[in-house]
Amino acid sequence: METAIYYVLCAMTLGGALGVILARGYVNAAMSMLLSMLGAAGMMVMMGAYFVAFIMVSVYAGAVLVLFVFVVMLMGEEKDGAGLGKKLALVGLWALLGAFIGWASPEFLGDAALRAEAPAEASSVLASAKNYGLALFSEYMLPFQICGALLLAAMLGVIAVAKPPRGGGGQSEKI
């Protein structure tokens, strides 16, 4: 039973991921991403990482992806240029990359070590939430801060790009 559920979730995740690249139209791609995320969250639940799974659903699927859909709808559906051949080539490239990582560091795939320590790590929800926070704010403090700064920079960049140029009388003012 558990194995069957696992394979269904695998199919959801991989199929969704393939769909993001291969689907025609942005909205279809976004919904494939939703499928992929739900599959990944389901696998996290199976591994006992409930906190991360639900955070993933509520943040990525429930908020970020809604934003994606919103933006895509705002921009309007565009017939994208990339043909099927290019997309398949992209998929092949990613598969090759995955295979290379698997070949170069087999512990990524044969996760026996990871699997052994997972239950101890996530022995209680509160403990796992606490561990999560502690790890984020102690061990991974620097990457966390860098990510924050990056996001802020990206946000400022978007605002700068979206703002019509002041005084210069560019085209955007005439529109």
Partner: protein, 376 residues
């Protein structure tokens, strides 16, 4: 931690002498929870029409009579006068009407959207603890599925409901639904953050004294015999309520289907049973959201602040707790209907301003305030 071995309805049945037979029984419990929420959804449709009628000095639906049932002496007249037969007639009408699919829609998402509207509601229904069961080994929630993270899970799953209105509006491939979908997604993004922030102080407040502060059942249990969170955290409760109205697209915030400017919003192109699914999903969302509000801020299944149904009464106390919970959900639904027929609709820019410039700073300040208070 894990999804515990369902000590819930099962405990109820086991102590009543019925032997548990695994998966089938769990499906039965899930069905019970869904039936409860769906009953609320159906009855609130009737209540909406009746309350609105009384507020406008009318009688509301009181003529529809199903031939044989209406002939039953007292019951028949009661059902007829209170519009309950109108509910049955409307439901059957949705089932038997022709179900056309317009030629210009994107078929896959057009068909999938109504299902996406209803499914999250049903999942949340399984997570809500409807009462407390006093078994041999202490208190257990009367819930179809008791997980330690039920609050987080309920918020996460119910936030997926917005994809239904997005996809319905987009797949309909026509202007009014499209505008409705845009509004729905923008509105949900704006208010979801505030909803999470308004719940945060509650979780922080109890995290010192209970095992799993993210479990709805423990939040409810914390309030039994003590102050309710609507009294100790009134600002948080108010923000949650505002966000609840916004998330369920109830009237002061029903941007997604404001019928005066968008015909019928995201479900303009829908008819018959597909429209019925949206309709039921919306009212089910209201019922599930009210249940969350009751557990979080209105003391769950406790009758009054500072008093609780005594554990010594055993199953009587449990029955009373479920009854209390149901009465509270009904009261919340009445409140939502009352507000709908009292307040005019906000303009779209007003909704955005309320979301980002009023509710969000207030929610942040509230969270910081209780963080400071809890750490003292």
């Amino acid at each position: 931690m894990n999804i515990q071995n369902f000590p819930t309805f099962e405990a109820v049945f086991a102590s009543a002498g019925v032997s548990a037979c695994g998966v089938l029984l769990q499906i039965l419990f899930a069905l019970l929870a869904i039936i409860l929420i769906m009953t609320f959804a159906g009855l609130s449709v009737v209540a909406e029409r009746k309350v609105c009628a009384y507020m406008q000095g009318r009688y509301g639906p009181n003529r529809t009579a199903i031939p044989l049932v209406a002939a039953i002496p007292l019951v028949g007249n009661f059902l007829k006068k209170n519009g309950l037969m109108q509910l049955a007639a409307d439901g059957l009408k949705f089932l038997f009407k022709e179900d056309p699919i317009p030629a210009h829609v994107r078929r896959l998402w057009y068909v999938a959207a109504p299902v996406m509207a209803l499914a999250p509601v049903l999942v949340v229904a399984g997570l809500v603890p409807f009462g407390v069961w006093w078994g041999a080994d202490g208190a257990a929630p009367v819930a179809a599925c008791d997980i330690d993270l039920s609050l987080l899970a309920a918020l996460a799953v119910s936030s997926l409901g917005v994809f239904a209105s997005c996809m319905a509006g987009w797949s309909s491939n026509s202007k009014f639904p499209y505008l409705g979908a845009m509004r729905a997604s923008a509105q949900v993004i704006s208010f979801e953050l505030c909803m999470g922030l308004s719940v945060l102080p509650v979780v922080l407040w109890i995290s010192g004294s209970v095992q799993n502060p993210l479990s709805l059942f423990e939040i409810g249990m914390y309030q039994s015999g003590g102050w309710w969170f609507c009294l100790t955290q009134p600002v948080g409760a108010m923000i949650f309520l505002i966000c609840l109205f916004a998330e369920t697209n109830r009237l002061p915030f029903d941007m997604a289907e404001s019928e005066t400017d968008l015909v019928s919003g995201y479900h303009t192109e829908y008819g018959s049973f597909k429209f019925g699914l949206f309709f039921v999903g919306e009212y089910g969302h209201m019922a599930a959201g009210s249940a969350l509000f009751v557990v979080l801020f209105l003391g769950g299944w406790n009758p009054l602040p500072g008093c609780e149904w005594p554990a010594a009464w055993g199953w009587v106390s449990s029955l009373l707790s479920v009854a209390t919970f149901i009465v509270k959900i009904a009261a919340m639904l009445f409140f939502m209907i009352w507000v709908r027929w009292s307040l005019p609709r906000f303009r779209y820019d007003q909704v955005m301003r309320i979301g980002w410039k009023a509710t969000l700073p207030l929610a942040l300040a509230n969270a910081v305030f209780y963080m400071c208070l809890a750490s003292i």
